[in-house]
Amino acid sequence: MRGIVAELTDASVPKFAVGCRWGGTTEAPVVLFPEGTIRVEGTGRIILELCDGHFTFAEIVQKLETQFMLAPKGKIRTEVQTFLEQLHVKRIVDY
């Protein structure tokens, strides 16, 4: 990553950036942010539901690893990191 993108560490606590919040319906939740919406389902939804300011990055990875025990070692960590970094650049997640 270039520029001044914050580094995501085990101790980072990912949470919605200011002006971003849940919306839509329980069946079809969306993340609302200025000028846009992301429909999240599956793993993306699980990750974002854990981004409520209560869990560190390491804890989120651990929870997902417990849930998806068959995934190759390290894969979940990389995927969660990429997902959160992408949302950070879009100013949807801060950590």
Partner: protein, 375 residues
């Protein structure tokens, strides 16, 4: 049919600024025709029920409505994401706190240039210093903050300085919006349309800023379609994603549709939003592909850009069903090429730019026409 995702509420056409790039219609709605608070609150509820997620409160200057906090509270009660698009004029520290308290999610503040003189010249009002002060107040609240820089021939050379000035205000997002040629902006097109060389330099400035501010400020750019090869998918297609309600309650598929002759835009005073979206003649008029002429009808891009903008087609060719002349495949594309080639007149000497509105209005009469307030 998909549901609309966003509702644009032009709650008033009254505005303390006189921006020459304003895309409001030339025929503005007067105060006495404006919808009442209770009507707007009902419309917001209907919008949410129809699946709308975002509400954009705009105008004119939405702060001109004394019931703005009440409207925001009502919108939030209907679970809408509320965005205020404003010049900031009329917003004290106390009133901002009230709007945030009412549930405002996002504020989008417009900037006209990098300093008071040229900004005053473009907006016909001294507003720049207040905007800078206001930005500091906004940052003391937990709401999203976008700075909107409207770019055109008269300020495009200052873009780098504008971005640096805005950066110091710590917005979450910057919108670099090239003027769109509707309403007052179309009247003033020859003074506003940038040259290709100016645009290329501006694109390089924005690319450098994006790189530098990555992860800190999100930059979104609205490119000027006159310099594009293909037209914009205006509003995501006619009656496909958005609804706009004008101050008097007329529902339109976009900001400018009121100019198209022979159309009847139904009013939220008489019909539900659901009926207007599903069944009104206006929203169905350019949905789908049946209305398309060639070359759109057999073009692969028709599902991407929907033939471009219907209002622009009408404004430039006199036929709302024509291919948007921005498209290089359009039979009347030469209208765009001619406009881009036009030489701009010279602007005003820098020392005269601080003049009050009535003086500017007189001095600039042959150069551009300032937006005036509705009666």
């Amino acid at each position: 049919m998909p549901n609309p995702l966003a509702l644009i509420a032009e709650i008033t056409h009254r505005c303390p600024l006189h921006c020459v790039y304003c895309s409001n219609p030339l025929e503005l709605t007067s105060r006495k025709e404006e919808l009442a608070t209770v009507d707007w609150l009902r419309v917001f509820g209907e919008a949410a029920a129809l699946g709308v997620l975002h509400l954009h409160l705009t105008g004119g200057e939405p702060l001109a409505r004394p019931d703005l906090a009440e409207l925001i509270a009502g919108a939030r009660q209907s679970r809408l994401y509320t965005n205020l698009i404003t010049s900031g004029i009329g917003l004290s520290r106390e009133r901002l706190a009230q709007l945030v308290e009412a549930g405002l999610d996002h504020i989008q503040l417009s900037f006209q240039d990098s300093s008071e003189g040229p900004a005053n010249w473009i907006a016909g009002a001294r507003a720049h210093a207040h905007k800078i002060e206001l930005a500091g107040w906004i940052r003391s609240h937990r709401i999203a903050f976008t700075a909107n820089l409207v770019v055109h021939r008269q300020n495009i050379e200052h873009l780098e300085g504008m971005i640096e000035g805005i950066e110091a205000l710590h917005p979450d997002r910057m919108e670099i919006a090239h003027a769109q040629y509707y309403g007052w902006a179309l009247q003033n097109r020859s003074a506003l349309l940038p040259t290709r060389a100016q645009l290329d330099r501006a694109l390089a400035v924005v690319a450098a800023a994006e790189e530098r501010l990555r992860g800190k400020v999100r930059i979104d750019m609205v490119v000027p379609d006159y310099h594009a090869r293909y037209p914009k998918a205006c509003m995501g297609g006619w009656g496909r994603q958005l609804m706009l309600i004008d101050p008097a309650g007329r529902a339109l598929p976009c900001h400018a549709a009121g100019v198209i002759p022979g159309m009847c835009f139904d009013n939220v005073r008489e019909h539900t939003l659901d009926w207007i979206w599903q069944s009104s003649a206006a929203f169905q008029k350019f949905r789908g592909e049946d209305w398309m002429p060639e070359p759109c009808r057999s073009c692969d891009r028709r599902k991407e850009d929907f033939g471009g903008c219907r209002c622009q087609a009408y404004l430039l060719t006199g036929d709302a069903s024509a291919t948007d002349p921005v498209c290089e495949l359009a039979p009347l594309h030469h209208l765009i090429e001619d406009a881009v080639r036009e030489d701009a007149a010279t602007g005003l000497a820098p020392e005269a730019r601080e003049a009050p509105f009535h003086v500017l209005q007189e001095q600039m009469a042959g150069f551009w026409r300032y937006r005036t307030d509705p009666k």
